[in-house]
Amino acid sequence: MRLTKSGLNTATYVAFIALILAAPLVFDPFWLNRLSKYLVFGMLGAAIAVSWGYAGILNLGQGLFFGLGAYAIAMSLKLASATSLAQGSDTPIPDFMLWNAEPGAPTELCCITKGSFLWIPFQSPWFGIAMGIVAPVAIAFGLGMVVFRKRISGVFVSIITLSVVLLMRLLLVQAQPLTNGFNGLTDLGYLTVLGLEFDPYMPQTYYLVAISLALVLVGARLLVETRSGLILQAIRDDDRRARFLGFDVPRYQTFFFCASAAISGYAGMLYVMASEFASPTFMDLSFSITMVVWAAVGGRNSILGACIGAILINMIEATVSETPALMEAWRVVIGLAFVFAVLFLPRGLAGLAAGLRDWLVARSEGARPHAAPIPAAEERGRA
């Protein structure tokens, strides 16, 4: 059988998706729940690869989109929790609002604290789910329209995104009566939609995450394989050339920035369902940079590579974090891994895999001369 690059690429995707779908056969509920969180991180890795690897936009504030998605659904789940429902008023009230309320304030969501009415629509889980995507995309769109129209690029985009996530985090903490500040949103209910209840330790939650990840991976890969994705990569290489070819560069950059934000927001929602909390730490600088680490180790230019990098790192971390001393050592390993990955493996694990793939392809083509362009053309015809 003759192997082709795209054939092997597809095979890798199929194998990975089969693997994550088969995981419930092996893991107990406890580990399955953990694994679902790592798959969510894998989704974040894919989001980073889209914006960093394909668009050349190193977003150091990806945690903003993740956090917005997380808080959006967490607000709905908070209102759906048993404690919120049992506060003795017509509408559910988050417990922390009662603790923080002025004495004598009405115990209604409309007016218990200033701005608490913003919570009202979140009584519908659908609203929470919608906002989990809409809010990150809206912010990404606004940011993109300003930043990319002004032709800000490279490290300046990184600094702006970093400043924005830190700013939003401060505002989130500052709005303590509305958001429970540093403590975040805990004691959440389960999401129940269409008669399905998503208990984080039940397989349906895992399957929701795994299937979502599979769809996101395939979707993101198809997205960057489209003509727009190709043009995006051209813009990454030389935005001036792309402008003079007639492409509205900021629009392309904004579109894919929004796509990356949407994936991150969705990941944030899934994370809340698996972990049952939302916290301002999602918007910490170190978390946003950590995501970039995952993508760099896995391979910044590879959607699947960045995803697997995130999952692998987190699985190892979970294994060693059983002992506190090892956990501290692990952070040393992470620091070293990062330095070494950047120094010696700029394309990450995916770069190694691509090397192996090319070797396999070359071997299967046997002694046929390299110069023959025909197989490449065929491959493109099929793709």
Partner: protein, 297 residues
């Protein structure tokens, strides 16, 4: 009012010391050194350790801290940064890894913690440095109480800024460095040993951050993660001031310090930081090259 302005000035001064090093390394070498905040942290720990083991005061700790962090900076340049010139965002990522390593080294007493040995002064906990008595008081000017220590910080920062200016504009090494900042290839072609100058500049910038760390140890608790916000703030200063412009860094450090101090005086620290971020975002969007950028071709 005057005391508030003084608080802002002293915040700006520490910021300036951190930013100067970044301005040089970023401007000259195109290196974003995320481990720069760890130089601040190491400087602060040097103050802790020298007072603990050698009985040195804060002032005597400053040259020691400069030396320690400058050597550390030199090592980072030689081992990591040197291999990454020309890859700006990669330097950011690799030095972030270095930053984690340095933090862990302090937290784990250089790894001895694994063997059950802990070094007093290091470790994950909080450390404090006591000020000498003559630095601890206040004096009053026009009815405002002004902290002696804050004035001291401002004085030291101004002296070091002046020293930096002198080194940059009145010495041969400074001239070579400025040549590299404008055009590294051309500078190399003119016979400038860019390797050596880069390493020296990196070490010097790290040393300044170390001194900033000692100054910070005088009014803040010292802990292994303290550097991260410093490097972020330092970068905001450099970018807002305009990459490659020392004057820009000095002025924007002053502006951001005042904004921080004044906002904190009327509200709280969280809002003050938020306002600083908002101002920086607005400035970058308005003038992506910074307020005082060097106009290249």
């Amino acid at each position: 009012m005057l005391d508030t302005i003084f608080i802002g000035l002293s915040l700006g001064s520490v910021l300036l010391l951190v930013a100067l090093g970044l301005a040089i390394t970023y401007g000259a070498m195109g290196v974003i050194n995320m481990a720069h905040g760890e130089m601040v942290m190491l400087g602060a720990y040097t103050a802790v350790m020298t007072s603990l083991y050698l009985g040195l005061g804060l002032i005597a700790a400053m040259p020691v801290a400069f030396l320690v962090t400058a050597l550390m900076g030199l090592a980072i340049e030689r081992l990591v940064v040197r291999r990454l010139y020309g890859r700006l965002l990669d330097t950011l990522l690799a030095t972030w890894g270095v930053a984690i390593l340095i933090q862990q080294a302090v937290r784990l007493s250089f790894g001895l913690a694994f063997a059950g040995i802990t070094i007093a002064g290091l470790g994950p906990g909080l450390q404090n440095v006591s000020l000498p008595e003559w630095l601890g008081g206040v004096f009053s000017v026009a009815g405002s109480e002004i902290s002696v220590y804050r004035s001291f910080i401002i004085l030291v920062s101004l002296l070091l800024a002046a020293l930096t200016w002198f080194l940059m504009y009145r010495t041969s090494i400074g001239m070579q460095l400025r040549a590299i900042m404008r055009n590294p290839q051309m500078a190399a072609a003119c016979g400038i040993d860019t390797n050596r100058i880069n390493a020296l500049a990196f070490a010097y910038g790290s040393g300044l951050a170390g001194v900033a760390g000692v100054l910070m140890a005088g009014f803040k608790t010292v802990f292994p993660d303290m550097g991260t916000p410093m490097v972020v703030d330092g970068f905001l200063v450099v970018v807002m001031g305009g990459v490659g412009s020392l004057v820009g860094s000095i002025l924007s450090a002053g502006i951001l310090g005042q904004i921080n101090g004044l906002t904190a005086a009327v509200s709280n620290d969280i809002i003050a930081r938020a306002v600083v971020f908002a101002v920086v975002i607005a400035v970058i969007v308005w003038k992506p090259k910074g307020l005082f950028s060097y106009k290249g071709r």
